[in-house]
Symmetry: C2
């Protein structure tokens, strides 16, 4: 039976960049006879508009039943003041938590032909290839108690709780060590063990797991503030970084920006393999819904296309097809095609569909 793929385009530029992935799927079906069982649904503002909530239970169930979820982006200014309980972000937070998507993989890679796009000097970022593994269902994002309370004297208190347990730390560290083995074999574990006990436990658990199961991988430890600095000072020192939910949120965005082209960067968020051997997984570009350019054909579809390539690699074990798509993207860039976000002098500007069509053309040629 064909693999089940749930597509959630979301808001803003989500639907239009997702169309370029559909074009690639069409090509795969026609040229190579590869077919998926695709269904589509609403999330974010698009779901709020129809169902009054950023994600419905039906969509969560469909995501759980799928072999993989391809996500666009959520966030719509129309719902900016919808309130804490109805913000579009809930869609992604609920999917992470309900499907147990605990490991967010965020590659920060500089394409040779885009090394000049960075605000960092090209000699500092050329060849950059970092993988940040961020824990995504624990830490301060989900810990209790949480909330805002009003004291007797009228003072208000906002509270959130950071919690990490041994198994939560072990499973995400394991993902990092496994990835490192297929890369440059180095893991840097990041926390604030000099200030936070949850970071102290994090460091101890990663150290123990390393000694027990991954002594062949080089492990180092770094404080989160120092990591923020080192990513700017000399980002190429890193191979795989593993860290908690909140630090990972900042550090992975920081690392992405080093590449200078957010429109190029995919991500994967993986869960644990179930008894049936299936692994819940969600793939999404790291950029947002960019409402300011939605519907204008200006959006760069490459991050969404590369997210689809990650999906083929990690969820469907289609390594060759994933590599083929990545190669096609790289070739299109080498040929000088650029969407407005990565345009520079001497290159050829194309729109969203122009870029998608060029990738398909390149695929047909490879």
């Amino acid at each position: 039976a064909p693999k089940k793929l749930l597509i959630l385009p979301g808001d803003g530029i989500g639907p239009e960049i997702m169309n370029e992935v559909r074009r690639i799927m069409d090509w795969m079906a026609q040229a190579r006879g590869i077919r998926f069982d695709v269904s589509d649904d609403l999330v974010g503002g698009a779901s709020l508009a129809v169902h009054g909530q950023p994600i419905t239970q039906e969509v969560i169930d469909a995501a759980r039943a799928a072999d993989a979820v391809l996500f666009g982006s959520v966030g719509d200014p129309k719902w900016a003041s919808a309130g804490f309980d109805r913000r579009p972000e809930i869609a992604i937070l609920k999917l992470r938590q309900e499907l147990g998507l605990f490991a967010n993989l965020r590659p920060a890679k500089v394409f040779d032909s885009l090394a000049d796009a960075s605000t960092l000097r090209p000699d500092v970022v050329r060849g950059l290839d970092i993988m940040i593994v961020r824990e995504t269902v624990g830490g301060i994002y989900f810990g209790n108690p949480r909330g805002i309370e009003t004291l007797a004297d009228g003072t208000r208190r906002g509270i959130n709780t950071e919690v990490y347990t041994t198994p939560e730390i072990e499973r995400v560290a394991r993902v990092a060590f496994e990835l490192a083995r297929k890369r440059d074999n180095r893991v840097c574990s990041v926390e604030k063990c000099n200030v936070m006990e949850s970071g102290l436990l994090w460091k101890e658990v990663v150290t123990d797991l390393h000694a027990r199961e991954y002594p062949d991988v080089q492990l180092t430890h770094m404080l989160a503030d120092n990591c923020a600095m080192q990513l700017v000072r000399n980002p190429r020192q890193f191979d795989v970084i593993v860290t908690g939910n909140l630090f990972g949120d900042l550090l992975s965005d920081l690392a992405s920006m080093l590449t200078g082209s957010l429109g190029m960067l995919p991500s994967a968020t993986l869960g644990a393999k179930g008894e049936d051997g299936r692994m819940p997984a969600l793939y999404e570009p790291i950029h947002g819904s960019a409402p300011d350019i939605a519907g204008q054909g200006k959006a760069n579809p490459l991050a969404q296309i590369l997210s689809f390539a990650m999906l083929l690699r990690y969820s469907f074990d289609m390594q060759d097809d994933a590599t083929l798509i990545e190669q096609a993207v790289s070739n299109v860039l080498d040929r000088g095609l650029r969407t407005p976000d990565i345009m520079s002098a001497g290159k050829t500007e194309v729109n969203t569909t122009g870029m998608g069509a060029a990738v398909v053309e390149e695929l047909a040629r490879l």
Copy 2:
């Protein structure tokens, strides 16, 4: 009576760079008749070695009695495994908490003659002048419950609590708004209100305070992950950034690294004015104790010297003297003098005392 100044040189390069400040104080006494009531004490590894703890109650009391504290840096590899309760960092954490030093001022400024030191392109950072105001006695650094517990099944849980109350947020935001009025009149408040209720409260309180007392200042809000990106993408968009303890830790270090020369950057941490009109305050370079180069005369004393200038400005209201020292530092750089950390082709390398002497020489000339 002369102002009381407590000097805490600490570990590593702390003592040697502090000596260059003493040289400036000597010059101020001789050339200008300005005298301080200076005392000296131990912190960090230096205190651990003598007293078995990173800071003694006597030192905390002396700090409280002083008009200002000039701090060097703490951290010594000898005590790396001293345990969570005896880590040298406790010295600074205790001083912050016991003296109520709630507002950490972290300027990130690029000196014209050092614009090439950054890993960012000179066109992106030239003229950079950001002030980050970080809350330093609240948030997840000090909240309870905290600790590591072992559950019945052997699982361990690490817990920390982020707490912010209305008055804690207001007082640090007030510092940011006041500073902005003397600068470019813009404040950007940073939190994660899309995920954390403590961030939601933060945003509300800052918004209300702004409307009530600072409507003349331009206020914007930004999510912490976006701020990490924007600092890399276009750091000059910021004037004053105000944020909580943990985000401030990462973002201020990130902002510092944009300048490319940590050895140049001072900081101030200020408390609330007491009934006697005195404001507790601590000044320190942002760099660490750099044990690898301690005692070799390689350390850059300028961050420590500029911390002393901030002390004169914020604690002793000696604006002119502060400006004079800052001008002397700038001139010395323009003359091409460089310690090894900021050395580049065509410049003149000097050691720690050479740099200190040059600043004094320049002061005498101005």
